[in-house]
Symmetry: D2
Subunit: 387 residues, 4 copies
């Protein structure tokens, strides 16, 4: 647990970072929502602010005056237990509140929070709430990157976001199989640093002997799969995956375009030729699984990943695992609205481990459990193989 | 036909008016598209400009340099025969080009058009194209009003557009039935002033004797229909209408909200109590028809409306008629892309006559044939009765 | 109006005919409903019987005992005002009541009706109800043919219905344009023979001079349209039609299959090569309209058709007209449930005139107004051209 | 592994049982498909027969003559790698082949199989194929019961299937928590008796100490959950489950109807009052999970179930577990078409353990892994709790 003073810095640094990410945008970019999974950037900025107002200032800061009585309504998200909310599909239809309003709202709440953190000693419970709020905002920072990428990368003009963003780091080391011995491994969060409730319930898992690759699958390898008609071989795919690729006419990772016979992909630096040696990104679990089938290999489980992670580099791609997202033994969700947070998604989602080039500093760790439906591709998702 | 000089003024006045309408908007308001029938205001501004560039400047102005090679792609609309187009459902997902870009594009094209109109004598064919372009832009001015109303009126904050807009004029005269004698009436456009091709084909229609109201149906009358459970009486409704009101849970005109037992409606001046004496607006053909059934009366045909129009006031509401939109005898559509304009919608739409408080000056006339699917309500649509 | 005795024969003949049509079916064919517009044959047999029980016997025959208290529920159709009904989409999910039950139900009601008609003098109102019931059943006889064709023709085994059915008569006479003079024509039903309410309201219509073909468009002509890529020329099609053919991948009339380079079509005699000289069948209004555009001709209005019909042969195809289905001047629907019959469909449908090879004897006449949504093709629909 | 002679008896007994199950049906009941998950009984009868013809007789019986060249097409199911197939949604639209045809097909193939089994010594590989075919048919016998229940139970007439079927056995013993010690447990199929490939890969799993109920949750307990507004407490439900119950208006287990204030349910014996002491059936995983949340308990994992199963009775309900369906360590799917069988469904499904009153004798065992999407309810699905 961080001290109150450390937390104050952590809060400031987090708030600034969100605004830095958006500093490359035009006003119009803040507004649109091309698909339901993508939220307008101004919504992310407002929602993360609303979180501090709703869960920290409103209940705990005496005489706190809401910035605006309607804000809660517009920026509530999945918290069904906290009043009304705007339908998720409807976020991109709201031109108001304006971007200027959102920045004023941020400033107002940030200042109130800074005063709150500077005045008197706060209880451990409140500090913990604020820490959750910061991590919550860091999570939305990752979504800001990936949602901005979606918004710009699906515009027919392919505008770039920023020349400096490094999205496709090269793994310049030799590919090897790492041997992991059979045994009982401890799984879950151990220290008293921050973690989400779904990492708790430290427990043992028995793993038979296995091997896991020290490298993520690369664009070059994935192009071989495409060349070998991987997308047309029905036996490589789950039944649902086969329907999905056919209904959506999927023939390559998301953001890939074949131009004059050469594969290009939209990156936050604009439309570029695909870098062969970089780890593949923007693939669904379905594609990761089919690729593994094609290689006669498989994806690791989340336990295998966690037990082996100290022996390989990770952090540029969220890595799909074979594990369905479900509670650890002894998991019990937090009471009330915050308890809605993780548990309610524990069905029909796959666990991803690692983190990505879009993940904020200090946000991920080796016990972190990300989760998405198996068809989603707008995150920087990749995978490594096991056998 | 206007002279070249008159047309030049007409052009300038038209272009200025579009920008005046948008001068009350925030940047964010220009971007969103809450439903497929509503286009983002910046799209209207760009599309009307593209029309002049694509159909006038590109083919007819020597050495004309396009403002930007991609603009045509983004602002083409239903003209399937002119290159690619952005899917209509996708207009609200495009944050770029920006609003600033669109205004620069407008200025560039307006200036080029002004020079074109100022230099040398243009052929009748070109003048006619420009006139069509101006009327096309006026048509989009009406859509600007109604689309802005939709965007703001469906925002949970109900922001107002502008205090000055007069949307609900009162008909302060006595209701009377006008008797129209049986006979052969001339229908269609007669003069050589501008009109759309769907008004041409001047022809005779035989009408039996009928009566038509000198007044539009009012909000007060429509509230009686609601009070009498009009929305629950199946026998008043077309089969498709019945499905439509039930699937969409329709219980009042669009923009109406019952607040503390009193009917309010969103207007361009903000959320206000309904004005009883004003003509009802934002009703579908289905609702107009059901109301008429409830009164044991009927809607006029478009020919009845045209034959009687000189005896009553019109112009504050587009008026639903019983007539399906189909070609006049002798109608032949213009060749090429412009010919796509009206003919391709001549199925499953109802004719509306009149004009509305949102219609631009000099845009409508008594032979003008507007048309919409029978369920649409975002225009200022009302109706009068006949028997 | 027929006498009571004539009506009794008419009733018997009608009832027998429905059963004759179904005598070529297997039990399983009576049950399925492949699309919502097609009803299971056993439903037609039950529904036409329910009509007599519900509207004649139940209210007018003293001490009449219902065959089964649940029958009304299962066989009610669009009569929203008469109790519950089984959702139209759900008819093909009901294995019970069985076919045997339906035939017993028919026999029970037919016998009760025969006794009712044989005993005492019935009022004109009741006789009229019975006459409507017979015509209603004749209408369903046509649907029996076309629904059976749909059920068998969409089975991958293409079973034939009956070798004797003559679906594709050849027009062995010369094609000519018939000149019809300008003038006022009387439209609507004149005699006191049976007609539907939508034919009433005898009125005058003014028609300018026009020409109409003495022949229906043939399969040979339609094949030319296909050869000339008619289905790919966007300017020939209504906007909705273009979406429709693309979404549904429509490239030929319904039931047509290209086998080894030659056009075949499923007929009630089985899968056969297309007969070039026969009138084209199973085309939508959209296709009829596009064909006319391609020829630089047009479809007649329903008034033009009625005014000219005495000069040409008709009766093998329902003929699409340009006219939208709407009430005649002076139309007023019957009160109560029977009044639901025709009026409630008077929107978004096109009028067809004539009759077809599937129409029962004495069912159609030159004032008969059939109507369908413009995309429907499972009836024997064709068209003739005008200019 | 059974001997060839044992297998021959097993085959005969299996084939007879399918026909016995259907002996209570009317011809019409064999044809309909009310939802995509339910197949027409005649399809089950044909498909299980096609399996023997396609995988045993066609490749392995010399000079075998197909009963009909089109049968494979109609009765192929999910085997994408074996020729064409009829879309699953389309099975209920096919009136042909008839029920009589299907029985003749069964007889022809059964006889050919009997001769094949009676003549000469068959290889282990072929015997294994036949054994799979029998188990495959037994699996469809369970579906026959549940699909027949769906077809009759959703008919507004609620016809009964058969008075003798025992669907709701009472657990007449005391409810107790069974304590299971922490430890490494062996999971998976051990003997050389028949099992499916998804049970193989015998492996160890570490389980912490846990408790599991000796009784299935009963109708009485589930009624308490309903009374306590369980279906309205958002925090009990997964996010997807909440959408699902609201979109589908779910307020009770499937087949339950409240009549005059009392809960009834459709059973294969007809519509009956709910038996309080019987185990609840026809609930989804979502409902099982929400019930457990409401009790502050949880569902067991499939490993917990398997490790504890020897201490409790099971077999009347398929029991939902918390485990997502995924491969055991070392799982490798069979090559070719048969390999499509289980692996392709290993995503987004939950494992069920046990068996049900509809399961055929000798079909289930304690290692058997059934799997369904978490919203499905037409099987006899129930659950027991753990903590």
């Amino acid at each position: 647990m961080q001290s109150q003073q450390e937390l104050s810095s952590f809060f400031n640094e987090t708030r600034t970072q969100s605004e830095l990410i958006c500093s490359f945008l035009e006003t119009e970019d803040y507004v649109v929502q091309p698909i339901v999974d993508v939220s307008p950037p101004k919504w992310h900025l407002g929602h993360t602010t609303w979180f501090f107002e709703e869960f920290v200032l409103k209940p705990h800061q005496k005489n706190y005056k809401l910035f605006d009585d309607n804000s809660a309504y517009v920026f509530n998200s999945y918290y069904e237990s906290v009043g009304d909310k705007v339908m998720r599909t409807n976020r991109g239809n709201l031109s108001r509140p304006t971007v200027t309003w959102v920045y004023e709202y941020r400033q107002y709440v940030s200042k109130a929070m800074q005063q709150f953190l500077a005045t008197g000693k706060l209880s451990a419970e409140i500090l913990s709430l604020i820490e959750i709020g910061c991590h919550h905002e860091k999570q939305h920072q990752e979504l800001l990157y990936t949602d901005i990428k979606y918004i710009l990368g699906n515009n027919p003009l392919f505008p770039k976001y920023n020349d400096q963003f490094k999205g496709h780091p090269i793994q310049d080391f030799k590919k090897e199989w790492l041997d992991i011995a059979e045994g009982l491994y401890e799984i879950g969060h151990k220290t008293d640093d921050f973690c989400y409730d779904n990492e708790l319930g430290l427990h043992k898992a028995y793993l038979p002997e296995y091997q896991i690759s020290n490298k993520l699958v690369t664009n070059a390898e994935f192009m071989e799969f495409i060349e070998d008609s991987g997308y047309n071989q029905v036996l490589l795919w789950h039944a649902e995956a086969w329907d999905w690729i056919n209904e959506n006419n999927i023939k390559a990772p998301f953001y890939w375009h074949k131009i004059d016979g050469e594969w290009h992909n939209y990156t936050l630096n604009g439309l570029k030729p695909v870098t062969p040696e970089a780890p593949v990104a923007h693939v669904s679990y379905y594609e990761a699984f089919a690729f593994a089938q094609w290689k006669n290999l498989r994806l690791p489980t989340e336990f295998e990943w966690e037990a082996a992670q100290e022996y390989f580099n990770w952090g540029s791609r969220w890595e799909w695992t074979e594990s369905a997202y479900s509670p650890y033994p002894g998991y019990s969700k937090a009471p009330g609205a915050l308890g809605e947070y993780n548990g309610k998604f524990m069905v029909n989602q796959k666990v991803l481990r690692g983190g990505s080039v879009a993940t904020s500093e200090k946000h991920t760790r080796y016990t972190y459990r990300n989760f998405f439906h198996p068809n989603l591709r707008w995150q920087f998702t990749g995978f490594r193989l096991a056998k």
